[in-house]
Symmetry: C2
Subunit: 474 residues, 2 copies
């Protein structure tokens, strides 16, 4: 295939598959992954490399994740460290898969790869290593690169200081547009990858920011201070990456200046470094609410078992509390076993309703939509929803019970219990996460245990208790 | 306060509160919201406007969402349509809150606001209106703007065609860098807001893309075709916005060219239009899994009740199936009521384990980490996790039952039931969402019902069935 033919193919719109490597959702096809693995197993190095060569680094990283664990090292050897398996591929790779690969590299190989990356990507690779390996890698780096990494590592984990890169464009506020353009066009040492130009005062504090397109579209004699936007979101280097992501999202930022405690410009964060955090933070609630930890499918299985089992044992405690409530009514159940048949309906429906409210509240808290300004309104809202749903479900189940078992008292008792438990579910679903948030506990991590306990205990207690009061088990 | 003082304050790093309006997480404080509302109620227009004036459009939009529903129209009047409540604020506003405001505006006011926005933001406002109002607004617009909106509306909802803006920079592939810079600097009609320059052939098909910073850093005589990147992600105008978001995320894009069916450049999507989709799509699984719909806290309450009740009624069906399984064992329960006390532990723990697996699998599917290449591996992985957790929990509960009730047979039965139900939970949690995904049903929407039914039914059946076989209720 001639070079121009390759280009033509590469430029086709993506959903018409670029090539046989991708399906319609831009995922690598199983046939492609299998073909590469087969060539690796057959020792057909050239064949494997020819398949992988046209891929984007993000796709090569996916290939490692999709390949069976025991094939990954052979694949790395075939692709070549610092060749097709380059620094960009490592930066895109899942942490666990990367760790497994890095274990077989020498410190100088890791140092060589890390040197080619932006500081933030290099830090992401080095921060996960054992301390001893970390030191060996740092020793193998050039002093400049080492200083940059060491400075980044001095900031807390998951902070803006670790996300930022230090290569950025800063210009003094008294310059005109022509000065800025001349500086950008003539200076060989500057980075070529930037989206915005930061304008700083003599103390190197940011005073404004300019899209590159504003600079190029402005007249030569315009002062840069007139072109720049003065309002900008400054990110303190200590800020947690979740807060960084929320700000990028709220203010639709593409890049932002990072400042030290004195307010001086020390780095820049760009949206491509933040997009995966936005996605992870938004998606993690599903996993946290279920007690699945960070739910990484590449994590070693012993960690997965440990995380999930811890949560299950905590839930076992709450299940035993709920069971002990049922235990109070053993006599009634022995005399009227139908109570045992119907009681899971009351507790289960309460659990479902509580989970709904919980999901809404946890998301609203995570996206900063629920603040102390509208907490009271939201509690009232969930109470009304719970009342409406409880009344509808209670009526439905009560009528059904009456028609099916012909027992009016039983029908009334289960209807009332459903209404009570829906209200418990609604209130627990809204009050527990808000209470935890105020107590500075992540509501996504701990709410579900308490809400389930509330709906289980009150589901059994309201139904069996009312049944006893009504003399149903008598 | 002098203007320079205001600037000084506005430039402070964000976590030292910018002003009294924001808390440490950049949310408006309740005191600030209350102060604005109070001034609106008191008829102090100047006071309210003075408070709101320094805010970012995203914050003004938040103010409307946080203000009580009945105050929002008065607030709009005080801030002034097309004044402090401008098009940018509307573009940032929650759909429901915006709809409520737009109802009280005239078509020409809406048209005026929409004209000031990028096509994609204008479309977002207009697409939610009733068809009749839509036509009235379009009639009130200038022919050019109307044509742009009408073309966007001709694409399917939630497609790239609706997200894209038509103002972009495209240059012919034979130009040199100097030509591009001269064109950008001299032409008054061009947009000033762009991150990348698209390079097109004579048929207006994109052949490459250039960051603006690459253009400005390249020598005058370099052909633009040598500066541009040839590999680029082309977005077909019909592509679903979720797929657009996945591509932006996977390839860390800041902007991307949108092409029509013939491959011609028709628009551009920028990351700021996509960031909220990434966040919404990632966060919606939590809501969908719980049956809370899109969980919008600003949605009218009747929609909320309807969405959640529909889901609860579907779950009621599964709860009744599970109850009918218990019904098969009424005789045993009447003779040995302890079975009714312990059975919720077996079903509940299975439910928790199933939810964990489900959350992991749904997230892995949504992020394209789980594909047909690693499905078999993932099923094996979940089976092993389920076996380990089932064995641990079964042993724990079995021992506890033996110690507490001194009944060895009961202890064995509950231990076996726990192991069986954990395996059911693990397999249902992985097979059901994968099966639904293959059948092109969104696994986040429907999986939970089936998984819960499996763990409830099998929890009751394995425990009560084994107990009956063992003669425990005999």
């Amino acid at each position: 295939m001639s070079e121009s033919e390759i280009e033509t193919i590469a430029m086709r719109p993506a959903p018409l598959p670029l090539d046989t490597a991708h399906d319609s959702e831009a995922r690598l096809t199983p046939e492609f992954v299998a073909a590469v693995i087969e060539k690796v197993e057959d020792g057909d190095t050239e064949g494997a490399r020819a398949l992988v060569e046209p891929l984007h680094p993000a796709d090569v990283a996916d290939l490692f994740e999709l390949a069976p664990r025991e094939q990954r090292q052979a694949l790395a050897t075939v692709l070549g460290i610092d060749d097709l398996l380059d620094a960009d591929v490592l930066a895109e790779m899942n942490d666990w898969v990367r760790e497994q690969l890095i274990e077989v590299l020498t410190p100088s190989q890791v140092a060589e790869l890390a040197t080619q990356l932006d500081t933030d990507d290099a830090v992401a690779i080095i921060e996960d290593m054992e301390e001893e390996d970390q030191r060996a890698v740092l020793r193998a780096m050039e002093p400049d690169d080492r200083a940059a990494i060491e400075e980044a590592l001095s900031y807390p984990e998951e902070s803006a200081g670790r996300l930022m890169q230090r290569d950025l464009i800063a210009v003094p506020e008294h310059w005109k547009v022509a000065d800025v353009i001349a500086y950008l066009r003539s200076n060989d040492d500057l980075t070529t990858d930037f989206w915005e130009v930061f304008v700083v005062d003599i103390a190197h504090k940011p005073v404004g920011t300019c899209k590159v397109s504003w600079v190029i579209r402005a007249p030569d004699d315009a002062p840069i201070a007139d072109v720049m936007a003065r309002e900008q979101t400054l990110i303190p280097a200590e800020m947690d990456q979740e807060d960084v992501a929320l700000r990028f999202q709220k203010y639709a930022l593409v890049s932002a200046a990072v400042v030290d405690r004195a307010g001086r410009l020390v780095g820049m964060i760009t949206v491509d470094d933040v997009v995966h955090i936005i996605q992870e933070e938004a998606g993690e609630d599903t996993l946290l609410l279920s007690g699945a930890g960070d739910g990484d499918i590449n994590e070693p299985i012993r960690f997965t078992v440990r995380t999930r089992l811890t949560w299950l044992i905590v839930n076992l405690g709450t299940a035993m509390v709920a069971a002990s409530v049922v235990g109070l009514f053993q006599g009634e159940i022995a005399r009227f076993a139908l109570l045992a048949v119907l009681m899971p309906i009351v507790s289960g429906m309460g659990g479902n309703a509580g989970t709904q409210t919980l999901a809404v509240i946890v998301r609203a808290l995570a996206t900063n939509q629920l603040t102390s300004s509208n907490t009271a309104r939201m509690i009232g809202r969930e109470f009304r929803v719970a009342l409406a749903n409880g009344a509808a479900l209670g009526t439905l189940v009560g009528l059904g019970t009456y028609v099916f078992y012909g027992n009016r008292d039983l029908a009334l008792v289960i209807a009332m219990a459903m209404i009570i438990n829906n209200l418990v579910a609604g209130l627990a679903g809204v009050l527990i996460p808000i209470g935890l948030e105020r107590a500075r506990v992540d509501p996504a991590v701990s709410s579900a245990v308490f809400v389930t306990m509330a709906t289980d205990v009150m589901g059994f207690f309201s139904f069996l208790g009312l049944a006893t009061l009504w003399g149903l088990g008598g």
